[in-house]
Each structure stands twice: as C-alpha cells, then as structure tokens.
C-alpha cells in the first residue's frame, strides 16, 4: 500500500531559499513528519526540522503544509490525494533559521514579560479548589506551545512592527489563565490591555481554528478578558471566587 508522493520542501536559511522538489515513498498510516524523516534518511541528511515527541504533545514540529499551519507529526498523509503535491514550508511569522526550523525566541521573550502566578501566602497542601473552578484555566494549560496561533494571528503575521507591543493569542491566553486561576491573587486586567496589546485582537478566531489542542482561545480566554477589561463586573468565576473567600487583590500588577 505504498506509493511515491511528490513533495516540495522549502530549503534555505534566513537570507534566501527555495522550494525543492522530491519524490519520496509513502506507506499506509504515515504522517508528514515520517516523510520528512525519510527524506533525511535517504536523500537529504542535512534537512533541518524541529520535532521531539512525534505524538502531538510537545509542540515542536509546527510548519505549514500546503499553506495551512499544522503539526507535522499530526498531519496524516491520507488527508492528501496520492497525486497531490504536498508543499511543506516553515511557519511564516518567525524568522527562518534553516529549512523548516524557525527562531521562536519572540515567544519566550513574551512569556517573561507576564507577571507570574501569585499564590499570596497559601501554605503547601492547604489550597482547596473545586474542579469546576480549575477547569477554565486547565483548558488553557493544555497548551503545548506550538505557537501556531501566534503564527496565524494577523496582528503579527505580516506585521513585524506590532511584535513589540503585542503578546499574541498564546500569551494573552496565559494572562487569562492566571486571571481565572482560583488561587491567584494578582490583577492583570490593565496590563493585558496596556502592555500586552489585548486591544489589537479583533476576535477573528483564526488562532482558535489552528490550535491542535482545540483550545477555544478566542471564546474562552480573549473575549472574557476583554469583558473584564471593560469592567463588566459580572463574571461567574470572579463571583464564585469571592464566594469561596478567594478575593482578588484589586490593585494592578505591573508587567515583569
């Protein structure tokens, strides 16, 4: 059940590069990453690709397959026709290091600017939280940091100039995660808007569409954050939080 597939793979470094044609064997049940590995093993030992778990768990193997942002290890070859040419290119929003590998340091920079979890003076083993209350933030903590949402968000996709002021969906969601964390004591609403560019987001939901973890980034993180920012006080979790005696500090937490 194997066939020869036509592949175009972007080869090159930051300066320049081009799509290179390959014809390569494909077997039943394989994913795009298997084919890239076969190219490495047989035709292009220096073809650079980033991967780790090959099980959709680490978020290393992000790239664009026929223009769609995808995890290479979770893209089955059976989703293409055998005579279809499969084009694999690096994610577009980040600078290319080589071939399919990009420089994602922007994301680590943004992660550092968000004030960390603040449990107040809680003691080890003392926290009591209900499952319903932790579930909202748990959804966001499913994030495998593949940065596909960052890649696809139009605010920075073709606008390098916005990168300075905009944390991107992954890290706006991180702020949301901490906001909705039942044991967190800080208030990050103002910095979300002022320092991390929540206002840039116009809820197009492109980020949600590409998330391999199926996190509802826009509906469950970004829109609720926007609501909190404009001061809509009624929010079930804040309300529940105050019922539980977990009260937000109220004053603003500065960016880190």
């Amino acid at each position: 059940m194997s066939y020869e597939a036509k592949f175009k793979v972007w080869r090159g470094d930051d300066g320049d590069g081009e799509l290179t044609d390959y014809t390569v064997e494909v077997n039943e049940g394989e994913v795009v990453l298997d084919i890239i590995h076969r190219l490495q093993a047989t035709q292009a030992p220096d073809l650079a690709v980033r991967w780790n778990c090959k099980a959709g768990k680490c978020g290393s193997c992000s790239a664009e397959v026929n223009g769609m942002p995808r995890l290479l290890c979770m893209t089955r070859m059976s989703t293409f026709e055998p005579d279809e040419t499969v084009t694999v290119t690096p994610v577009r929003t980040f600078p290319v290091i080589r071939d399919l590998v990009t420089d994602v340091s922007y994301n680590y920079q943004k992660a550092r600017e968000i004030p960390s979890f603040d449990p107040g003076d809680a003691k080890p083993g003392e926290l009591r939280m209900q499952q319903v209350d932790v579930e909202r933030s748990q959804e966001f903590r499913k994030c495998i940091e593949c940065f596909l949402c960052q890649n696809v968000c139009h605010v920075i996709r073709d606008h390098d100039e916005n990168k300075e002021e905009y944390a991107g969906p992954r890290f706006l969601m991180r702020i949301g995660e901490l906001e909705m964390h039942p044991a967190d004591q800080a208030d990050r609403r103002n910095i979300a808007q002022d320092d991390h560019g929540l206002g840039f987001c116009n809820i197009t939901k492109c980020c949600t569409e590409v998330c391999p973890e199926h996190i509802k980034i826009t509906d469950n993180a970004l829109i609720p954050m926007k609501e909190r920012v404009v001061g809509r006080k009624y929010d079930p979790v804040v309300w529940l939080g105050s019922k539980l005696g977990i009260v937000k500090k109220g004053q603003d937490t500065p960016s880190a």
């Binding site: 030992p45 099980a55 960390s116 748990q138 903590r141 901490l178």
Partner: protein, 673 residues
Amino acid sequence: MTEIERHSYDVVVIGAGGAGLRAAIEARLQGKKTAIISKSLFGKAHTVMAEGGAAAAMGNVNANDNWMVHFRDTMRGGKFMNSWRMAELHAKEAPERIWELELWGALFDRTKEGKISQRNFGGHEYPRLAHVGDRTGLELIRTAQQKIVALQQEDHAEHGDYEANLKVWAETTVTRLLKDADGKICGVFGYVRETGKFVVFEAPAVVLATGGIGKAFKVTSNSWEYTGDGHALALLAGGTLLNMEFVQFHPTGMVWPPSVKGILVTESVRGDRGVLRNSEGDRFMFDYIPEVFKEQYATSPEEGDRWYDDPDNNKRPPELLPRDEVARAINSEVKAGRGSPHGGVFLTVVDRMPGGAAEIVKRLPSMYHQFKELADVDITKEAMEVGPTCHYVMGGVEVDPDTGAALVPGLFAAGEVSGGMHGSNRLGGNSLSDLLVFGRRAGLGASEYVDGLEARPAVPEDVVAAATTEALAPFEREDGENPYAVHAELQQTMNTLVGIIRKEGELEEAIAALGKLRERVANVGVDPVAVGDGGRGYHPGWHLALDLRNMLLVSEAVAKAALERQESRGGHTRDDHPGMSAEWRKINLVCSLAGDPSAPHVELRRQPLTPMRTDLLELFENDELKKYLTAEELPGGPAGEAETGEAEADEAEAAAGSGATAAGAAENEEGDR
C-alpha cells in the same frame, strides 16, 4: 582554529525535563549561578509526554495511604532490588514536592473536597497519582518552566538581566564532561544546534538529568532525545552505571499504523476500567497472576470490576499488575496465536464507564485524540490494539541516594538517567515524583559540593582540544557511512536480540553484532551544510553521528549486563533462566569503561546490594519477604544478623576504593540505625 565560546557557572544542569528543571530551581534558590542545557526547546523535554500522573502518598482519596505503604509498593514493584534508601526518601518527600508545584501554579484535578485528586495505577495499593487528565507531564514541565521564569523575573528586577543567575541554553547538546588534572569535574563541552558553534561551560558541579535510552531500540515510546547521552557521558568521565539490564517494556504501545508503532497508550486506560482481551475475547490477565501477587489480585472479572467502586472489600483486577507482568502476558498471548490483527492484543474501554462515551472522552482526552488522529480509531466505539514498547530504563548512573552524587567528584545525576530508585521495575507514576524528589536533592547536593570546594577547578586546554576533534571527526571522514543506516541497524539489533524476552545465545549474538557496529559507528561521515560555523548549523545528520557513540555504549552496557544476570526479574526476562533468584537479588551489576580510552569497552563488576535497614524491613510480613530474600537475610532468622553484618563489611570495602557513592550510602545507613 575552531572558535569556541566560553561561559562560567557554579552549577550546570544537563537536561530540561522534570529532573533538570527541579535541580536548576534548587541550585538557583541556593544562590548558585546556574545554567540549564537542553537538546530541545525550553518546555519541550521528554517529560511533556508523561500522561498518567505523579505518585505521592498524600492520602487525599484513601486516607489509609502513607509513605510506608508507598515504600512497600515501590519495593515490591522493583522486586526488592531498589536502593531502599532512595525508595524511602521518595515515598516520604513526594507529597511535599507535589504541593510545592501547586504553589507554583500547577492545577491538578480535584477531589470533591477540593484537594488534589489521585488515581489508581498498576502496583499502587491506593489511588495515589496526582494528575491532570492524561497530560500530567505537560503540567509538571510547564509549572517548572514558569517557576524558572518567575525566578528570572526576580533576577531581572534586581540585576536588570533575566539571565543573571539562571539561563536556559535551549537546543544545545553536551558531548563531553570535562575533568581537571585531579579528576574533578570542571565543566562540559557542547555545541549550539542552531549554529554548530562549540561552547565550553566552566563549572565545578554538573547535574546529569538527560533521561533515558529508548532510541537504541526500534519500538519505543521515547522521543529522539533518548539516546542515552547522560549514561554515556557518565561512563566516559569515569562514572559507573547500575543494573543496566533492567529495561521496562510498557505493555501498551500502539501497534498500528507502522509509523506510530511504539507510541504510548497510557496505563490510566486500565486504571480507568480498561480491560485487555485476546482474539478469543478472553480477559487473559486472570491466567497470568504470578505466585508473589496472588493475594493482592482478583480471581474473577466480577470481583475485579467491583473493585473500582469498592476497593476496600474487593481485590484489584490483574490488568493492573506491575508492567513487566502485563507486558510478558501480552507477549505470550501473541506468541500463542491469540493476538489482534496487527500483532498486539485488544484494550478496550467501550461500555466500561458509567458515563459512556462522554466520560471516556473526558477522562482520556489525549488517548481519544491520539487514536482518532493517528489510527482513525474511535476508542469510545472500538477496541485499541496494543503491544509492548520500550519505555523506561531502570538502570542508570550509580549515585548517593541522599545527594545524587556520582562516583566522579562534582558529578551528580537525577531522574531517569540515575539508577537504583526503581530496582528492577518502575511503577507507573513513580518517575514524575522521582524527578521532583531527586531533582531537588541533586540541585542541593551540587550546591553544597560547590560551597565545600576550596578552589574552582580549571579547564585544561588539552581536554577541550580533544572534545573539539571528536566532535569534528564525522566531517573529516572521506566516504563515511550514512549515520541513519547505522542507527537503524543498531535499533534492530537491540529490539530483536536484547528485547523483552532474552536468551544467552541471542545476547552473545547481540554483543558480537554491537562489536561490528562499533567499527561502523567510528566511520560515519557527514558533509557540511550551507550555514553555521563550519557548515554545522542545524545539521541533523551530524547530530545523529555524534549521538551514535552514546547509543552504542549504552547498548553494550545493557547487553552485557543482560547476559550476566542469570535470572528473570522485573525488566529483565531470561527465557533460559525463568525464575527469580534470591542469590542474584543480592548482586548489583556495575558497568564502567575499560581499555584504550580512544576505543573503550564496557566492563562489568558484581557489587553486593546494601541490605535493607531493619526498621524498613519490618514494614513487611516475613511471609512476603521469603519470596524475595534468602533465608539468611530474613529478619530474626538465626543467621540473619551475622550475614547482614558481613555483607555490610563487603560494601564498606568496595566503597573504600570507589569514593563518594557507596561510602555515602553506608554512612547514612549507620546514621539512621
């Protein structure tokens, strides 16, 4: 001349998995300038793949649980070959380490009272695994990663530099540990993967936290990082490896499609009511309950099924036997012709959960996702096909239980790369807690070691030159062989000849084959690419060429130790020596390197196991101990006391020659008595 960057730290941690991050956090908290070096990006280490949970006797779900019960389960799981001191520390400290994660922002699943929920797992008497759905490893990594960011933010506030005291060197590979003229660790040598640039990290203390060796096998649940680097680095630096024959084959890996063969199907599937069946529809595990476990397991499917809701009055189903037992049972069923179409057996949760399909998706989201996306199987409607996959190495760097110190002064190890804690077989969930407990201890041990040094060791130029030459060698070889071909053959050899069931003849064949592969490994070659220093920018062929040295060394260690140990125990099954032997239990097999330093080979030594401290021994019934220990070792036995004393003398003697590790262990034992 090749350009080499230099950096200086107090503690260098190799590895950014759970163990490495926890060690680095500790070293930084102790005021040490710390570097974390990792082959992959920050937050992507292999630990993210852990699914089921982290074992800690918090007693949140069943209040009868405590460290003593956890200790007993761990020792039983390891068939009494564990370093009992490590098992003790682990059982005692795991709860604190989990609670600490919670204060760093981790969000575990909750009980009704709002405490951390705990789930059942093979070999654990009570529900004990703290978990987040089936992505616990991700939660652990992310939490530790975010704690590191929090510490960096503190440093930024104080020094204006996030990386003033704690820096992550992502996508950087260490190829050599460096020692000074006195034989002390003085740093490490490595390359930045992106550019191929060489870097020397000068540091008096190094913590190995590099994980496992699975990539030496063809069918494995492990990622590309698992090339046994830390095991090999320790050997090459004069350290020792303990009991490398013990390799865990997880009973349930995916068997189809071929390209995902080996990917893990978490044990939580069985903890959450999943059952194993053969092609005839039988729950065959009931036929495979070994004598030593007869009392703890249900004898009928009805009793097993009642256990999930009423564990106090029923015994657990045999699907939850320790992994080695289940893996061997599956292997036997397939061999007997009762396997599934693709050479595994069936694992199913269909109609097993009260909440039906919705509950399956809720409880096992990643598994649902994984089978749907990769195999086109809907686990709420169909059975999964599963079979054994190489999963974890119990063997590893011989360390002092309390500080993680290896035999080489300045070298420490924690996590999967270290040995002893899990004996001959690791219980599920005991690794994640091991990473935290011993990661912290190694970070502390390294910091205290640095404090105790009078002068910082200097890095001799010739060792740096030698490491550079070694790293460049694959480019120098004209007509060198393709490293991928050599790797494929190594994996095939280990899988077929040193796999789950072993025989003398096959092991000898393996050792001979590895001897031939050694020559081929020495002759792999690559061409420079267009970018980076000397054409070494992000060069996967070159990376593999260098990793092969490590995989070959650990493969040799596994094969030689497997040939030596003439019994079957935990992760080591000898077809020709099927029984467990109480005499062999007393023997640790220790690997070191010998011969020409430019082409060293693995040498084995037998070392007596330190007898268990009396108060710990007393936690077990004599009837149970009889199954594992020789008559002389039993507490109260007439010859018991005298024998123990003698064995200890042996240990002390061995220690005298070999420095920190064994001596430390013996001392502790004295102190605790």
